[in-house]
Amino acid sequence: MYLLSADGLNCGYGHSQVLWDISFHVEEGGIVGIIGSNGAGKTTLLRTLSGLVPAQSGKIEFSGERIEQLSPHKIVERGLSQIPEGGGIFPYMTVLENLKLGAFLPWNWKRISQNLDHVFQLFPGLEDRKSQMAGTLSGGERQMLGIGKGLMSAPKLLLIDEPSSGLAPKLVLRVFDNIKEIQKHNVTILLIEQNVQYCLNMASRAYVLENGRIVLEGTSDELIGHEHVRKAYLGI
C-alpha cells in the first residue's frame, strides 16, 4: 500500500480547471519528485493535496484513508505536512516562535523542547537567529526555517514546494543536503521542482507535469535519459 496516492484528480478554482486526471503514488520512505515548469499546475496540486483548495473530482488517499474532503488542519493532523514556496513562515514572529508553531498539534506541543533540540541540531543557523523576526531573514534562511518548521510537526510525509526557488546554487545544495538528512529520519518526501537536475538528483522516482497533466513517469535514471525530458527541460 502506498503512503500517498492520487487517482483521477481534477483540480482548479471555481470555473477554471488547472489539473486534469492526475494519478500518482508515493511509497513510504524515499523521495519522489514532480517536475514541471511555471504554470504547469504544481502549486495547485500541492494546495489540493493539503486541503487548501477542494478537489473538483477524484481521490486522494493517505495511509489508507480518503482525505480529499478533509479540512487542511485535519490533514496535517494525519501526518501530511507541506512546506510551501517561501517557507510558509510568519513574518512578524521570531524564528523561535515560528518553530514552536510548527509543533502546534497537541501531541507535538508536549514534546516541543525535544523537537526543538533536534531541529537546532540539524540547523544550527536557526538557533543563532532564534530571536530574530522571521520576516527579516534572507531567502536561504527562510527556506531553512520553513523546513525546520515542517519538521517540528513530526510528519510522515512532507510535501516540499520548490525549495530551490530564488536561491543561489551553493545554498540550494545546502537545502537539498538538509532534505536528504530529513529523509533519513523516516520522513517520506514529495518534492516539487522546476529544476529538473536538482529534482532528479534527489528523487528516486519522478513524474513530469505539463499543462495540468502528468505526461511522464519513471525512475530518475529513466527520466534523465528520456528524449523529451532532455529536450524540453535540460535543453539538450
Binding site: S71, V76, G88, I89
Partner: protein
C-alpha cells in the same frame, strides 16, 4: 489658562475612559487582523455588556467587578454564536468583505432596535457602588473610577499575555500574518475565527459593563464607542493590538481634554477631524501592519 491640577484631573479621567476604549478597540483590531472583517455591530456588544451589568447590579446586587466578569463570559459565547451563524456562511463567497460589512450593519440595526423594544428607550443609571474617593496632590479619583481603570488594565494585560505566550494566542497571531501558512501548520483556522470573535465581543462587553455606572445605559449607547474604536484602530494601525492600546489611551485623554477646553458636544467632531488628519498624513497609523 487652566490650573495644572485641573488639566491633570482631566488627563486622569481620560486614562480611565481610555482603558475601556482600549478594550473595545483591541477586540475590533483583532478581528480585523485575523479575519479581515469589519464588525459594525461591535458597538452593540458594548451595549449588551452595559445592560448585563445594569441588570446584574440592580437585580442581583453584583459589584462592578462581578458584573464585568458576567458580561465577559456571557458575551464570549454570544460572540461565538454570532460568528458561526452570520459570518462563517459568507467566507467563501465572492465579495465577502462587503457582505460581512452589510450583515454586521443589519445585525447592529436588529440588536439595537430589539434592545429598544425590550429594555425601553429610557436612559438607565447605576448608582456608584464604592463610596469614597482617592485624593493625591489635589487630584480626585473616585473609587468607582479607580476600579474601572484597574479592571480595564488587568484585562488588557490578560489579552497581551494570551496573545504573546499561549498556544491559542500564538495561533491567532499566526492566522493574522499568514492564513494559508497557519492552515498548513495544523491550526484550525475556523476555530480561531470564532474564538477571536468571541474574545472581541467579550472585551467590548466588559468595556460596556465597566463604564455602565459612569455613563448612562441606553440602547444606542454603543454608537459612540464604536466610532471611537474605529478611530483608535485607524490611529493605532489596523491589525495592531499594541497600536490599539497606545492609541486608545491617547484618544481617551484627547477626548477628555477636548471636553474640558471646548465642549462636550463637539468632542466627536474633534476626534473625527484628528483621525482624518492622521489618515491623510500616515495612512498606516502608528503601528499598522497593512
Amino acid at each position: 489658562m487652566f490650573a495644572a491640577s485641573i488639566l491633570i484631573q482631566q488627563i486622569v479621567y481620560g486614562l480611565v475612559i481610555g482603558s475601556s476604549y482600549v478594550l473595545m478597540a483591541a477586540g475590533f483590531s483583532l478581528i480585523w487582523g485575523i479575519m479581515g472583517v469589519l464588525n459594525l455591530a461591535h458597538g452593540e456588544f458594548y451595549m449588551l455588556g452595559a445592560y448585563i451589568a445594569y441588570y446584574a447590579s440592580s437585580l442581583l446586587g453584583f459589584n462592578p467587578i462581578m458584573s464585568a466578569i458576567v458580561a465577559l463570559v456571557a458575551m464570549f459565547f454570544f460572540g461565538i454564536v454570532f460568528e458561526r451563524a452570520l459570518l462563517s456562511p459568507l467566507y467563501g463567497r465572492k465579495g465577502w468583505e462587503m457582505s460581512t460589512v452589510l450583515i454586521t450593519v443589519g445585525a447592529s440595526i436588529l440588536i439595537q432596535n430589539l434592545a429598544l423594544v425590550i429594555f425601553g428607550e429610557k436612559y438607565k443609571g447605576l448608582p456608584m457602588y464604592f463610596e469614597g474617593e482617592l485624593e493625591i496632590w489635589k487630584i480626585v479619583l473616585s473609587y468607582d473610577r479607580l476600579v474601572v481603570f484597574l479592571v480595564g488594565i488587568s484585562l488588557i494585560a490578560l489579552l497581551w499575555y494570551l496573545l504573546k505566550y499561549t498556544r491559542v494566542g500564538m495561533a491567532m497571531r499566526a492566522v493574522s500574518q499568514n492564513q494559508e501558512g497557519a492552515y498548513l501548520t495544523g491550526i484550525n483556522v475556523q476555530k480561531i475565527f470564532y474564538l477571536a470573535f468571541g474574545l472581541s465581543a467579550a472585551f467590548a462587553a466588559a468595556g460596556g459593563a465597566l463604564l455602565a455606572p459612569i455613563y448612562f445605559v441606553y440602547p444606542t449607547v454603543g454608537a459612540g464607542p464604536l466610532l471611537m474604536a474605529f478611530a483608535i484602530v485607524i490611529f493605532g494601525g489596523f491589525g495592531s493590538v499594541k497600536g490599539a492600546i497606545v492609541a486608545g489611551f491617547l484618544l481617551g485623554v484627547f477626548e477628555s481634554l477636548v471636553v474640558l477646553m471646548v465642549s462636550s458636544a463637539w468632542k466627536d467632531v474633534f476626534v473625527f477631524i484628528l483621525v482624518i488628519i492622521v489618515l491623510t498624513v500616515r495612512p498606516r497609523g502608528l503601528f499598522g501592519i497593512q
